[in-house]
Subunit: 524 residues, 2 copies
């Protein structure tokens, strides 16, 4: 049997474009004499569609697209994923089997356990066995694949339509899982994922075929559309699974996520508040790679507390990137504001209030630039500062999307070095100087925060590994650092509650994979 | 059998305070010779606790509190709700039965279907039958009560521990449900709800006892703690179910929600941007009723576009409320900002950019006042303007909590009239003048929006009733109004995505009961 794997980039609710892509891949598979072509889960609708999944008209459009797709399926079997209404009016995720232009069977997904799906999908029957061209195939949707043993006992081939989104390390873990499944069942396993960014979610593709000995026979690209036809009888040369560099993968994930966010929303040009610091420089560099230098605008907003080198660094960055850089100094506005507030504030000393005012003036300038010319303001915060709330709400927290908000500061440094791998794009000085908010004289992030390598290690244990204060202290961290970090995280929950969408790059994206009651006496 | 109902206000994670309340009620029940005292679902932990429910240490603290509570239960049976770890390490919601100081039984909840619970609770066994003082009791947690027939067949009495939060009309619907259950089963039904605000969620209490003929024998207060003991053998005088006035209930719900948000978070003083318009006036009046005039500060921020009457109206409001009113004019700051942006903007005409700048200057002033003196800024937007995005993100959208964000504009008018029921608190002129954002000369909301009675009716059909454009047009609305409204709602999803917590007063609170993919081609 010759099987085609179609790993495509779908747009949520764009039935016309998704259908055209699917039909094109069916024709390509037919021209290459494939017996079966497999698409990913929810290919027809795009995912995650959230509340749209509970609208009958949305599900009707899926069904209509499926019917039209079926009319192209002469001489080939097709497995394609979509949401559908079950006989008891629940929304379920299914794989439709098309043969001889007819929709022969719907195979439902049983395991609904992710936060994106729990509120919108109901569990269905799970894996079913179908005969395709004489071969007994276990058709499995999504995470149902984990009940693997059973499938191998009843089928000659296991086909998994999935929709697995990127997070650091997932590609290696997914290969391991499928290697194990195929080895343990002794049956070939084919899995087809989608690719593409859909606001914060990035599907990475990395589909593949494993033989019954746990060896890879085909591996599709990561972060790109891909298509291959494999002859299960003839193609038996095992492939080496390539090494996965975390920084390279994160870099590619962000570029895909950012690019699709702009393309799928018809956005053209981004604007970035360029402080001359690391975070905004990395965001500007990534945006320029994705959108091109004509479609990125930098805005420097110097104040009395901005050291000369920061402005110079921002301009040097703009020059290296070949992008336009505007300047809007904030001092006069800051003076006007403090004068207007003077009668209310009286003799109160300069404090965090005036720091926040500066950050909010900058946000207002950035948004004004965006409003006036239709630019899309990118958020420039990282996961470390978001986590401890070292960010001004409605100040540097603003933006339409955050592209590095799920990267710890130490990972942003890694990314900066990767961006500079061929030549100096981000000025060297930006990477080496001590991070500072520059909102008062001689301010350094470490005035308040532990050094970033310590902070990031504590935060990683707290979020990604779910460790308690005591466990982290027992692992050798200073009690003072651990308690300070925990307290700052708990106190700043309300800021994250109002944050913009953040490209998901970890298994614990703040504000998405973490929901805490703002009013609670337990802390965290 | 004498049964006590304890309807209490719990704080999430405040095990000490919750435990003390519960023990006090047990002692009161004992002193009134009750055989059984019933508490609400998740009483020991408070709810909704979200991710805390998946922390073992949190569940351990629940169990410890339960053990201590049990030590007070001599001579009385107790049913009390809490989250617990099931034998297979899932978090479930249970009722613990305590008798003779011993924890005798855990009864789990089966129906997990709300968005607040789906990601955090697993379904358990459901209703169980226990003998308490010789009476066969069906103990039912939460929505499991809907499988009612079964319970009546197997028990002499049905006891439901619930945690049902307020939304418009829920009190009537809940009474109807329990009346129907008791009538259909022919068995007495006792249900105990909690009360209190927990950030955006407001439990309204309204617990009760119905006899097997569907008649109320006891009705506890709404929006207040309450306690009663009923003798099932002797107390058989049916009560009239009181009329529920929607505006009065909304008014009481907001006061409870706002008051608890401040009390449970140890907040003292609110600040409100007073424009002289309806929304901010209603927010200021409610805050003053709840927090007292010393703990509410108004801030007027006039511009060149503020008509004289608006400032006068704001000061009149402050005087009527007896609260302090500060003033920070925004003109000089606006001029400084447009000067700073001038070289970038060139000859571009005044547009929405300059309107948004004004709104964001006001937000910066309000936040500065909050930062300097530790005040809590209240959001002043309503559901109608939030829905269509007639709000400036990071401008009038700011705040720590929104108290009228789930009320349509027409409902805010109703509330204003209710606030003025005894005397003119909100100046008459504020209620009668045409709503305006006052961001450019002679601006009126109706320049952009349909009249509010039309807009609200369309939005209600769209959100609360899930109607499509076609259905609403067929109901007699102008096609142009319907399409405009739908388009504005779809286009402004990204603004609501970054909104502050909103007291939930309807079954479709924006941003909570509604999740849409920001990137999608279907619309809504």
């Amino acid at each position: 049997m010759k099987i085609a794997l179609a790993q495509l980039n779908y747009t949520i609710g764009d039935f016309e474009a998704n259908k055209v892509k699917i039909i094109k891949a069916i024709n390509q598979a037919k021209s290459q004499k494939a017996d079966l072509v497999v698409f990913s889960e929810q290919a027809i609708s795009g995912a995650p569609a959230y509340d749209l999944l509970n609208k009958v008209s949305f599900l009707d459009l899926c069904e209509e697209a499926l019917v039209e797709i079926a009319s192209y399926c002469d001489g080939i079997s097709v497995l394609v994923g979509m949401p559908a209404q079950s006989t008891n009016n629940k929304t379920i995720s299914i794989a439709a089997l098309i043969e001889d232009r007819k929709i022969k069977r719907y195979i439902g997904k049983k395991t609904i356990d992710s936060r994106d799906e729990l509120c919108h999908f109901s569990p269905s029957q799970g894996c079913e066995y179908v005969k395709i061209r004489g071969v007994k195939v276990a058709v499995v949707v999504g995470k149902d694949i984990r009940s693997r043993q059973e499938y191998g006992d009843n089928a000659d081939l296991i086909v998994n339509l999935c929709n697995s989104h990127y997070s650091r390390g997932i590609i290696e873990r997914r290969y391991d899982l499928f290697r194990k499944i195929s080895y343990q069942t002794g049956k070939p396993v084919i899995f087809v994922n989608s690719i593409g960014g859909n606001t914060d979610v990035i599907y990475d593709g990395s589909s593949g075929v494993f033989n019954g000995q746990g060896e890879a026979l085909a591996l599709l690209k990561s972060f790109e559309e891909d298509f291959c036809v494999i002859d299960m009888a003839a193609d038996n040369q095992p492939l080496q699974i390539p090494y996965q560099d975390k920084t390279v993968n994160v870099y590619r994930a962000i570029k895909l996520g950012l690019g699709d966010f702009f393309r799928k929303n018809n956005f053209k040009t981004a604007c970035v508040a360029a402080s001359g610091g690391l975070d905004s420089s990395v965001v500007a560099a990534l945006a320029t790679e994705v959108l091109g230098p004509d479609h990125v605008k930098l805005l420097t907003m110097p104040s009395q507390f901005s050291p000369k080198h920061s402005i110079e660094d921002a301009y040097q960055l703009a020059q290296n990137l070949g992008v336009e850089c505007f300047s809007a100094p904030i001092n006069d506005t800051f003076m006007a504001m403090t004068r207007a507030l003077g009668p209310i504030f009286g003799e109160q000393p300069f404090d965090i209030t005036e720091e926040n005012i500066q950050a909010r003036i900058r946000a207002t300038f950035l948004m004004a630039l965006a409003d006036k010319f239709g630019y899309i303001p990118l958020n420039t915060c990282n996961k470390s500062t978001n986590a401890v709330g070292y960010v001004t709400l409605y100040g540097d927290s603003v933006g339409v999307i955050s592209i590095i908000g799920d990267l710890y500061k130490t990972e942003v440094f890694d990314l900066a070095r990767h961006i500079n791998r061929h030549r100096e794009i981000i000025p060297h000085n930006i990477i080496t100087k001590a991070p500072s908010a520059e909102l008062k004289p001689n301010q350094k992030d470490t005035d308040i925060l532990p050094p970033y390598d310590v902070l990031d290690a504590i935060l990683y244990r707290m979020f990604e590994e779910g460790q308690s204060r005591e466990e982290i202290i027992n692992a050798g961290f200073e009690a003072r650092d651990v308690y300070t970090t925990y307290d700052m995280v708990v106190r700043s929950e309300y800021k994250r509650d109002q944050s913009c969408p953040t490209l998901r790059l970890s298994t614990r994206t703040l504000g998405i994979d973490r929901t805490l009651p703002l009013t609670n006496r337990y802390g965290y």
